[in-house]
Symmetry: none
Subunit: 219 residues, 4 copies
């Protein structure tokens, strides 16, 4: 609020937003180029020079806008993570049966993952290498898990889920299930199929919580 401080509420601001049109364009070029290069070579094997070459700018131009590969990568995955968080929030809290909402959330998660599969793989890679990136990854996870936890609590209030289930532990476990399944499928390449995946995950998720659900009615 007071001039120079953190505007975003999260990670320390990168170099300030460029003032000129041209600057904004160059910065955007770098981010786009970086996404392409990261997807192609992975986080580790991407060189600053690869990015500037792809963006068709001089090597030094990189440092006009970013301090390090980390910082640029954070920029690249920033929107991605926002997608996931938005995805989690977009699931209506009311209306439809709980099972239908869980199915919708699971499918949404898997589809978002699939849309960004390449980059998600890189994100997983970068997250183990860089603490700041890990934070970003964990924020996305937390949004996803927290949403599940809240849902479980609400279902317990409505007597739809048994009280002996701990919402925090259960949300972590079930969130892990979906998240890791997506990784195994879409990054590691285990040959699953979308509808079957959504169906199984939702089935297990609901049954685990003791929620009634009509058996599979395939699309």
């Amino acid at each position: 609020m007071t001039g120079q401080s953190d505007e975003s509420g999260a990670h320390r601001a990168a170099s300030p937003e460029p003032v000129t049109q041209r600057g904004r364009r160059t910065r955007a070029q770098l981010i786009e180029a970086a996404r392409r290069v990261f997807e192609e070579k992975g986080y580790m094997d991407t060189r600053i020079g690869d990015i500037t070459e792809e963006a068709a700018v001089a090597h030094g131009t990189f440092y006009t806008y970013f301090e390090s590969k980390h910082e640029l990568f954070r920029e690249v995955v920033g929107t991605l993570v926002q997608d996931f968080i938005g995805q989690a929030r977009s699931v209506p809290k009311l209306g439809h049966s709980p099972a239908a909402r869980i199915e919708r959330a699971n499918r949404g998660y898997l589809l978002a993952y699939r849309r960004n599969a390449r980059l998600m793989g890189v994100l997983e890679q970068a997250a183990v290498l860089d603490g700041d990136v890990r934070q970003i990854r964990l924020e996305a996870r937390h949004a996803w898990v927290k949403r599940a936890e809240d849902m479980i609590r609400r279902l317990q209030e409505d007597r739809l889920v048994a009280d002996h289930i701990d919402p925090y532990y259960a949300a972590n476990a079930l969130g892990s299930m979906v998240d890791r399944f997506a990784y195994v499928w879409l990054v590691l390449g285990e040959p699953f199929e979308e509808d079957q995946a959504v169906e199984t995950l939702t089935q297990l998720y609901c049954a685990a919580l003791g929620l009634e659900r009509e058996p599979h009615s395939p699309a």
Copy 2:
């Protein structure tokens, strides 16, 4: 050196077992030293020189026994992975209730994970960086998932689990749940507590499969 590349078939032959007494000792020293260093600095940040220094041998000696950091790391995690595979196999296929066997398997998995938490974290890191290490990691996963898949099939034959559940998908999902929960707990440091973790995972696992289970009776 290479990040995502070289997915090629698992273990290339390691350097041959040394012939002399002295050679075997040196090799063992390197492996032990490497484990300590990897646990302390992670995979990425470990230098060949760190390992030889810790092992108190000359830098060049490393190459008498190993071709690369990858190869040595594979050696280091080899026994670890055997642990997990053995763990999976040690769960009796018969006797006790299915729920009891699932609980035992889950607890066994979490404990094995906890015993080796530092190194498991490094293994996850190395797996995203090196194709061969990834293969090792996936083998451990496969042992774990395959065991679950077999169990589910058997329970279906015994009419204890509904047929509309796909054993392959379900085993992957539930295996992911436990595996990822362990990672979040023991590597990322989310503050869970053992009994509660085992209880929740087992509860969810059984309910997801539709298995009857008496509520928690604490140890």
Copy 3:
């Protein structure tokens, strides 16, 4: 840029005086800002960007007024050196005893040095790095030494100083004494005290030349 090279004849023409009001203001801002930055960071560690930032002008603006850091620095120390030269000239050639005039000159030199101690330190630094700056430094030195030489010659004409003393050598030696003492005191920080310093230097200076002098009568 070059260290010992380019000893070439002193001042190349600086950029012409700006034509507009605004231009003169900007140029002055840069000089003031540069003095502050040089004093804070030294010559070597000052970047063009530091100066423009301090002056609150765009980076490129620097090159509207100066060709290089050297040139700007010369501008900055220009007035300083004039001070020293003026100082040397302001000592009356006649009146008072020779000893009193020497004391006055020494005190004047030390005080001028102290007034500008920070920048004098930077000047010594820049002088070893840049031939043009060295020329400036040497001009100041020459003014100081030449004045001493002339004085000695005059005292020899008046039979107050022995003929076997070479005025050129002696002026260089005694000038060095005062000049270096000032550096050691005011730049390197050796803990001297003003009156004692002036007294000792003057005492030694006069005795060295064989000038009569009543012992110290403090101000």
Copy 4:
């Protein structure tokens, strides 16, 4: 004394002495090459690559033995400075007249300076750029000044120098005189001549302290 600590009593030890013959040779080559390059290009303009090229070793080899240009330079001037300190100590404290001893010390200082004139110039340059080098330079100065201070005290005890002269201030002033004269002569290139320089400095030095001295008897 206890293994790894500082052996020299002064600056933190460089990389440990090489173990093998070959290593010692290479290290020595680098130091010799560095001296040549420093003398030719000055401190600032010497690149690591210049030194390794002159020494005919690979670039990386530099870092086997030194951490930085600073560290290597310290090594290069180490012996030089020892020379000066030794020089100061070699002047006999007894025998001959005080004036004769002062003459001997001054001549010794100027000759040592001249023998190493190129490197002394570089040392003055490096001293303003690097704090550690400055320390080395100051140690040499202190040895020189301290020796003068002790001498003055002794002469005062013997009633050969007046008590109203402060030995600390006087030693600094007269030490500065000789030291700076040497610099102006041998580094800046002011055209002095040895015997005349020694004669004048000694004459002024002695007279400044009030010491009797027979007039110049040229060599």
